[in-house]
Symmetry: C2
Subunit: 351 residues, 2 copies
């Protein structure tokens, strides 16, 4: 990439004003727990003493992974395209949660391999259905256990797509963004990225993903070990790591995260795959970390390592491991509640 957008620090004046207001609200100080700190951070991110997070969107990046040829997933690659079709028809978990949370769903085919099954658009019930963006950089990555997953040009193209989507969504009105992913095989790429950035061996960060048995996990660990030995990604060069052992949807989310932060849009990070994108984003532009909110702790074992590395404490811990942005969108009402409490509660002076 030529130049990364500059990411401002959280606004200290807005944070100070929010902190002062929290102290005057009609409750014992500190009694709203994490919601208080969260509201203050959101004030700083938005540079507004009383922020609003009414306009919400989840960006679900979908792509395939050549590494599925190694038997690293409980599901076949063809499920990626089928699930994108499901997203468009409004029948997936992310659609249900989006409707419940008043959150727009934007689905991005950034590298699915094979057709999107669009038949029927009858399920769901959204007034305006999910938006589908078709911007395939390539039809899935190459097999990262045999060589680089992508070229540098493809990696940068995917990041640029993520950047552009954030800009479009902000132009439609956007106060907070949630990240989501769909891609059979992508926990293998995410675990590889985590292994490089954490310095931990693959066996400590790879897990069952969508449902591998212990034998499958062992195979996945061996595949990641091979990928790291074949590719030798340079941990001090985040784009190099992303290109060699990442994925197209992960690269797209890197663009989403960096661009959102640069525009002062808080980013609610979903689980293991979104978290891998956040790791890359923070390595590329460290100031991004001030705009990240960890939605939940995933059931994927390596997620704890990832959250620690990101320095984030998740809002929810419900043993979810679906991806799609489901954990992130489930956490949106909590983010919304935090800022509403700050803005709408009476002060002791009002009593």
């Amino acid at each position: 990439m030529k130049v990364w957008p500059s990411v401002p620090p959280r606004d200290a004046h807005a944070e100070a004003a929010a902190r002062a207001r929290q102290a005057r609200l009609t409750k014992p100080s500190g009694s709203l727990g994490r919601l208080e700190a969260l509201s203050i951070e959101l004030a700083g991110m938005r540079a507004q003493a009383q922020p609003c997070v009414a306009a919400k969107a989840v960006i679900v990046m979908a792509a395939d992974h050549g590494v599925t040829a190694e038997g690293v997933s409980a599901y076949p690659s063809s499920i990626t395209g089928r699930m994108v079709g499901n997203f468009i028809r409004g029948g997936a978990a992310i659609n249900v949660l989006g409707r419940a949370a008043g959150c727009r769903v934007v689905v991005v085919d950034i590298g699915v391999n094979g057709p999107i099954h669009m038949r029927g658009t009858d399920s769901g019930g959204e007034e305006a259905g999910p938006r589908l963006v078709t911007q395939r950089v390539r039809s899935g990555t190459a097999n990262l256990s045999r060589g680089p997953a992508m070229s540098r040009a493809d990696t940068e193209a995917a990041i640029t797509i993520g950047t552009a989507i954030v800009e479009e969504e902000v132009s439609r009105g956007l106060d907070v963004i949630a990240t989501g992913d769909m891609g059979i095989g992508n926990t293998t790429a995410a675990a590889a990225l985590l292994s490089v950035f954490s310095g931990r061996p693959p066996r400590e960060v790879a897990g069952p993903g969508t449902g591998l048995d212990p034998e499958g996990v062992a195979r996945k660990v061996a595949v990641i070990e091979r990928a790291l030995s074949v590719n030798r990604p340079r941990s001090d060069d985040p784009l190099d790591v992303l290109q060699r052992v990442g994925g197209l949807e992960i690269a797209g989310l890197v663009g989403v995260i960096v661009r959102a932060a640069s525009l002062r849009v808080p980013v609610v990070i979903d689980g293991f795959v979104s978290g891998a994108a956040a790791l890359v984003a923070v390595r590329l532009v460290p100031a991004v970390s001030a705009y990240l909110i960890a939605a939940h702790r995933s059931a994927e074992p390596g997620h704890a390592v990832m959250l620690e590395l990101l320095g984030l404490e998740p809002l929810l811990d419900l043993r979810m491991r679906l991806g799609e942005g489901t954990g992130a969108v489930l956490a949106l009402p909590i983010v919304d509640a935090a800022v509403r409490l700050l803005g709408e509660m009476a002060t002791f002076a009002d009593l």
Copy 2:
């Protein structure tokens, strides 16, 4: 009480149907974590294979406590009435969260000592403001460290009020109920109840409440020890315990919980004070426990003991300790999400 309402077990057919549907939804089995089990339990509570929890109400029971004369709270008793006024004007945390979650707020003055400050009704912005039910059984309890907090007749009257309010709310349409409390001094009563039912000494279950310093907590522990030694509540007689060391709002919530369960209305339990009411309710009518959902783990240290005794795992853990029902109403979108996912997601056959 003459007769407790009978509480049916969760409906096994509805649970089996919900479990079978969960297995067909477009996601890896188990990937929605606790939301899956929650949706199945809610199906059983409502006796509907695809339940709906659209109509929501939080019942906030407010009352004063004579034991505040012993200096067991960081705030004076007069705050109880002031906060009830705040609830009516829509300016308290519970109002904000109720509006955000689409949850009716019902405030019950079941034993406040002193006037309710009703001036102004300008803050907030609810279409129909909170409903205030004024049914004072007495103006606060007696000092439970010197004798029984209430008479048996007052205890039963408070329970009956809770029962009647649930019946009224159900007649307005109600799919799920949340419990809330307001009463300066009530964590002392709740800790005393917990001490009796858990068999643990007061020092292991009493905490800072709204913000006591360590010296204050030590004083509170001594007051509870005195209360137990003066009152000698019989742990095998839950009404006796409630009468001697409980409170009017806790008794009201006992009525709410038992009656809701008997009508197959799931009960989302807030924090430490609501949890004490749940403990009493479960001791009175053990079948009630099948209808309880623990909203959150409170920052009050004894709450962990209480949740263990209730056998409940909370949905949230955000270090909140405000009461009012805030934790319960914050958890409602998660409860709602669980049943919507069950009802609205496509199945693999649809793909």
